[in-house]
Symmetry: C2
Subunit: 294 residues, 2 copies
């Protein structure tokens, strides 16, 4: 389908940015490529979930049959409360969990820290047929690492290039990389953090470090801006995320575009169907359990 006839294609196209993207010019409350409201957005989300599901099943079947090299990798970045978990829950959660592998990257363990920053990432890349999801990723190593001074400036510089190189290699292996920055406003984050503090069922999601990071907001935006400029070879999507329904719709649209680019088909059987039908017809009766004969 074209952008004219497929709302998802229009959304995916509208949120995809180039190396010259300027974060301050992207309104976190906007809904690029979509002129409906929340109700229409949720309707489209539900309708396209079925399309995503069908494509994912074909991809998984191809991986299972060994007839594809293709996989999808969804990389989700964003400030605290930007909605990473909700995306995993409501977008990724709509497809068969057997075909999905989710990995949340936290501060490196001592073993991980003893290796290059990409070591723990490359071990979690999706196998053919799978959708891999990174909740935070190697980008923390040029975001938090830069803002919090966890690595020297020249090491950060090296990492941008290492990421571009690695992502190119992953793409050559058949991995379609969907890189999403969930873009929220500081006002919206303030409201969401307040809500987490107020609700006993949400307090576990809050950490005092969230406020530490909030106080570094300008530095983080600057670090994201640099990431967009330096790692655009595999393109980024900046997804306005103040409206959760839109962010979910946009990420679903990006996944749809990735899967449609793969265009997975049902694998042809590696066996002769008629021969197996014949065998099965001869195996109507299968006998009695040994224990029963005794």
């Amino acid at each position: 389908m074209s952008e004219k006839t497929d709302p998802a294609a229009a959304i995916a196209s509208a949120v995809t940015v180039g190396a010259d993207a300027r974060l301050p010019l992207i309104d976190p409350r906007s809904t690029p490529g979509f002129d409906g409201g929340k109700a229409e957005g949720e309707e489209l989300l539900a309708r396209d979930a079925a399309r995503l599901d069908g494509l994912q099943e074909r991809l998984f079947a191809s991986g299972f049959a060994g007839t594809t090299d293709a996989a999808v990798l969804l990389v989700i970045q964003g400030m605290d409360t930007a909605g990473k978990g909700g995306i995993v829950r409501h977008v990724v959660g709509a497809v068969d969990p057997q075909g999905v592998r989710i990995r949340a990257f936290k501060a490196p363990t001592p073993e991980e820290a003893a290796h290059d920053f990409l070591w723990r990432i490359e071990r979690e890349l999706p196998e053919p047929g799978m959708i891999g999801v990174f909740d935070r990723s190697h980008y923390e190593d040029v975001l938090a690492a830069r803002v919090r001074g966890l690595a020297a400036p020249d090491e950060i510089e090296r990492r941008y290039d290492a990421i571009v190189e690695a992502e190119r290699a992953w793409a050559e292996r058949g991995i379609r990389i969907v890189k999403v920055m969930l873009h929220i406003s500081p006002e919206e984050q303030h409201a969401r953090l307040s809500s987490r503090l107020d609700r006993p069922d949400k307090r576990w999601k809050f950490s005092p470090a969230d406020i530490d990071d909030r106080l570094l907001w300008p530095s983080y935006q600057d670090a994201y801006q640099r990431v967009l400029a330096r790692t655009a070879a595999e393109p980024w999507a900046v997804v306005p995320a103040d409206r959760k329904w839109y962010a979910r719709l946009a990420v679903q649209s990006l996944l749809l575009r990735a899967l449609e680019g793969i265009a997975p088909v049902w694998p042809l059987p590696a066996y002769d169907v008629d021969e197996q039908r014949h065998r099965l017809a001869g195996a109507v009766e299968v006998g009695t359990a040994e224990g029963e004969r005794a």
Copy 2:
């Protein structure tokens, strides 16, 4: 809730068996503990999915906060076409995928085969707060291994005891093990295999080895019978699986019982809520990106 007031508790209780269970006496078309039909069963499945979801989120939160040792491990066994994938899709798929880790065990790789049979299993046990799902498991090492003669009889004997010992250790670590044998009839399997051969979108799920195994049906039933007798320390559920709606409802009921046994609660915050509210109130304004000031 008690079995009288909670249909799920009645179902979970009715499918749970002891070491003296006799497979030929369990009708694969029956619906133990539930006297409704398909429509009522699907209604209950949908209603209890919300309960399962709420419990799972509390468990996940506790794991995230480090306040629990508890986890759930769902072990799914059954002949080909018994519905393992459907359980994962429709029962496990109803909870937040971030809290679930699914592992499908296939024939061991050379590396896996070089270790004891439990080596690859123990590496995939769920962390605290998680629901682990094994689609096939260590039980293949006493099922297929026995029927197909992949291990010597005395090694198979040793494995029953090793499994009992290992599962006891897992339980002591806090893992609630839900062991499910999906029990189908050979007639139903015949119909499902035929359908897989007929439908181009299902042929990838069929393998000629499925018929090889079907021809060994009595030996497999005998092997399952021995498993039930020898590994009952952590109890099995034999779930009649000719009716897919019932099998899904029964497994959901077993998961509910396991989670209610854990009785997870929202973790209390490790920080002072009022202190953080105060900090947040002082962080309404967060400034402008460095790039903007320039």
